[in-house]
Symmetry: C2
Subunit: 299 residues, 2 copies
Amino acid sequence: MKRYLGIDIGASSFKYGVGDSKHGLQCFDTIRIKEKSLSAFQEIIAQILVHVQDQEISGIGIGSPGTLRMPEGKLVGVNPNLPFFVGLSPRELIPKGFDLPVYVDNDANLMALAEANSYNCSEAIGLTIGSGIGCGIVINGEIYHGAHGFASEAGHCIMIFDGEECSCGQRGCLEAYSSVEGIRRRLQRRGLPYHALELPELIALRAVKQELYKVIEEGENLLIRAVANLITLLDPQKVILGGGGMDLGLYDIKRINRLAPKYLPKAHSQAAICVLAGFGNRAGVLGAITLCERKSGSE
Amino acid sequence: MKRYLGIDIGASSFKYGVGDSKHGLQCFDTIRIKEKSLSAFQEIIAQILVHVQDQEISGIGIGSPGTLRMPEGKLVGVNPNLPFFVGLSPRELIPKGFDLPVYVDNDANLMALAEANSYNCSEAIGLTIGSGIGCGIVINGEIYHGAHGFASEAGHCIMIFDGEECSCGQRGCLEAYSSVEGIRRRLQRRGLPYHALELPELIALRAVKQELYKVIEEGENLLIRAVANLITLLDPQKVILGGGGMDLGLYDIKRINRLAPKYLPKAHSQAAICVLAGFGNRAGVLGAITLCERKSGSE
């Protein structure tokens, strides 16, 4: 089986690994981002290519935050994490003259692809609960991009009209309630002293602080309703929940599975089930590798 | 080009026609339903087959209301319009021994397929505004069914939590606000004397009755927000709005196109546009014929 290099560009580091989707990763490592600039990013990629030069790879997959216009794979619109990157493609990080195929996609899409593949689902939705809410939709075993590459922005579907302000400028988005930053902002607006705590402390403290508990519970309730609406609309085999929030136990998968069916049409109620993502912080790298396999298999 | 018989089972009549998606319908007619039973429905189909016996057809497509489990095409769950039909497939209406291929799908799915095809869209969402809200999702030029056939129930996505009661038993569904029956029920609950009026009268009267105007405007506002969420999630080329409500002018497509982009993420704002369905009450029959073409072409 061919092996690929997967690279996952995160907010504070590049993760990378070599392997295939069947056997997993033969290596996995992380390089911290010291400076957010094109040349610094190109330098990190050059380091990664040196690290893996002894391994036989058949291509590179890159996962990037932000909205990519497809099929070109160019970052568009407002990307607060990577402003210098807008209008470019992550492909441009790879040295000129590099002669293997390079595939790019959004990081949440790649998480969904890797997890759907491991759960053997051809129809699945992946949601990552972290600073924001990421979403990827897998249809017929492939990432669904929509007409322009902008699909699956579930975090910015409006759940409460004229609701809480979201970082995107809208009001009432799922992300404004159910993401970690959404929880912090709501704590801050309510004058509650917990918003600066690290996530594990926040989670630990909710058992004894009723007002903190309420804010997190509101986030979970909105997530449950969003999951129900996604199932109502897309009827997936599974909804796969991951990201740092789920990994640390911010929300309770059992409660989500108990309550989500209450909001579904009668025909749907037993049709879909939420599961926890299994790959943790390696999902992006594995998804990038799975993308290479799918793309090279179809060429 | 091969020609097919399309049959659209409605609440009060069977519509049918023979033709192909390129040249349209060579004939189109309607047979009223006198009795809702399997034998009465089989009798109507037998009449239709006599009517078209002189025409050379290569197969039959049938559009049915209700939720069809796929790929079997059996009606499942609660279907208040066709209770005798639950557990059966519309295929069973065709006489035994009939030796041409028969394809079935949900009526809103077929409307979406016919309209997406005519607008030359491979990615589209069709919404029908009538007694209920129908929805069909077209992805890669095909009807999207989800894992079990239950996808695209946009009418039962919950828009307002603990909102108005819907006929499905949930609260706050889009259908409870934006469908014609949803408008009637809200008028009735508010003690307003208009709920028994025919739709054209309701529409005419809103210009002079402020409280009626408000109820219809609320339906339009919720539809706009639902359309925005659909675009945020699925990034279609077009959202195609049809059904009796749109045909009669219940909602204003210009206002929908003006306001929906305000609820979209910045990258999306110029990416999708709502258009009016063009086939009126022939969309189901044309969709059934288009389904035959797609299915027989792929076999």
